[in-house]
């Protein structure tokens, strides 16, 4: 898995998609409870990215977004990035704390709220992954940024590309309250961690 070419069989991709689907489903439920609004997710999109096309996932490099980033530590190492268009993140905050009237660009409290949102999504996702595999997974305290989508994603993947020329990303789209608010969650296990996950799930050699 640590070689320069990462190849996953269909069975391995399906397995990753399935556990991510369950994990993201739990994350969506937590979010839904937090804001008391219906949250839907799309089926996670599993992709092995041989080249550097990742920023295009989010609708363009220069789209302004809010992102919460956590590192996954423990038996499985990896990265989780939750991204909302800045406009949508503001709407989400308004639903989280009605009447608080926070401006996402300037308010310190809004930043903390985003951090907490990232924390809730990440920990429910990781908890269900841990339950399914018996592996230990923790998230670090979320770091929050408001910036170009390209800048954020390229920063995360650059760190990964130092470990492997090919990386696997799991991309899940969130829809809050019908289609009012769109978000995206990207999970990138480190190359070694991907092997651990697949082996534990019984598809290490598929």
């Amino acid at each position: 898995m640590s070689g320069s070419v990462l190849e996953l069989s269909d069975l391995q991709k399906d397995t990753i998609r399935e556990i991510s689907n369950i994990g993201m489903g739990n994350a969506a439920t937590s979010l839904s409870q937090l804001i008391n609004t219906r949250v839907d997710i799309t089926v996670p999109y599993v992709k092995v990215v041989p080249d550097v096309e990742v920023p295009r996932l989010l609708g363009g490099e220069e789209v302004e977004v809010c992102a919460a980033y956590v590192q996954v530590v423990g038996d499985v190492r990896g990265h989780l990035v939750m991204i909302f268009l800045t406009r949508d993140a503001q709407m989400l905050l308004n639903q989280m704390m009605p009447g608080a009237d926070m401006d996402i660009a300037t308010s310190e409290m809004a930043r903390s709220a985003l951090q907490e949102l990232g924390n809730i999504l990440a920990s429910s996702f990781l908890r269900s992954l841990a339950d399914m595999t018996g592996l230990v997974m923790h998230s670090t305290v979320p770091a929050v940024a408001m910036d170009f989508a390209g800048s954020i994603i390229s920063y995360v993947v650059s760190n990964m590309y130092e470990l492997s020329e090919n990386i696997m990303i799991v991309d899940t789209r969130f829809e809050v309250g019908g289609d009012q608010i769109d978000g995206e969650c990207v999970f990138i296990p480190e190359p070694g961690a991907l092997g651990t996950l697949l082996e534990t799930l019984g598809v290490g050699d598929a």
Binding site: G3, S4, D51, V52, E53, V54, P55, G60, E61, E62, E64, Y69, Q71, A105, T140, V141, A143, V144, A145, M146, D147, F148, A149, G150, S151, I152, I153, S154, Y155, V156, S158, N159, Y161, E162, E165
Partner: protein, 162 residues
């Protein structure tokens, strides 16, 4: 006039009147080398400091600082630029998130990218005449080969010239 989008790991060459754009640079470096007389120039979008991590042949020379700098220099010269008239500027190299350990030498990839580019420019006797790197904000870097304007765009801070 053509607009050349320089995506991650890409290297593009433009002529008089063209525009070179690297959108949403994070820890990556946008490096531009331009002939100030002929207005021939190029830009490369560098992701990583060192190609030594690659086993086997390197497919994307623009991806790594050590291969990108000589390749960009060679290509602008081949396109007709003259060495003694070159203007060299760069932008990017940010750490997008501040968290425990993000400034450690192992992380800090933006800083390592910027240092690597500077080292390789020196090695090839190229003088950097403008640079905006570091910090925690992403940058868009646009070079107009028409009026030789080097523009930086940052979220919440608008545009400025480099």
């Amino acid at each position: 006039m053509a607009i050349h989008r320089v995506g991650m790991a890409e290297l593009k060459i433009g002529g008089p009147g063209d525009r070179l754009e690297a959108l949403g640079l994070g820890s990556c470096i946008g490096l531009a080398i331009v002939d100030k007389v002929s207005h021939i120039g190029g830009m490369v979008h560098i992701m990583l400091p060192d190609s030594k991590i690659v086993q086997g042949p390197i497919k994307q020379l623009g991806k790594y600082a050590d291969t990108a700098v000589p390749e960009l220099l060679e290509q602008v010269i081949k396109a007709g630029a003259q060495r003694e008239r070159l203007v060299v500027k760069m932008a990017g190299g940010a750490e997008m998130f501040a968290f425990a350990g993000s400034d450690s030498p192992k992380m800090a990839i933006g800083k390592r990218n910027a240092e690597a580019v500077q080292n390789h420019l020196r090695e090839h006797r190229l003088k950097l005449s403008g640079s905006d790197t570091g910090g925690h904000k992403g940058r868009t870097f646009i070079v107009s080969l028409d009026d030789l304007n080097f523009m930086i765009r940052i979220v919440g801070m608008g545009e400025s010239n480099l």
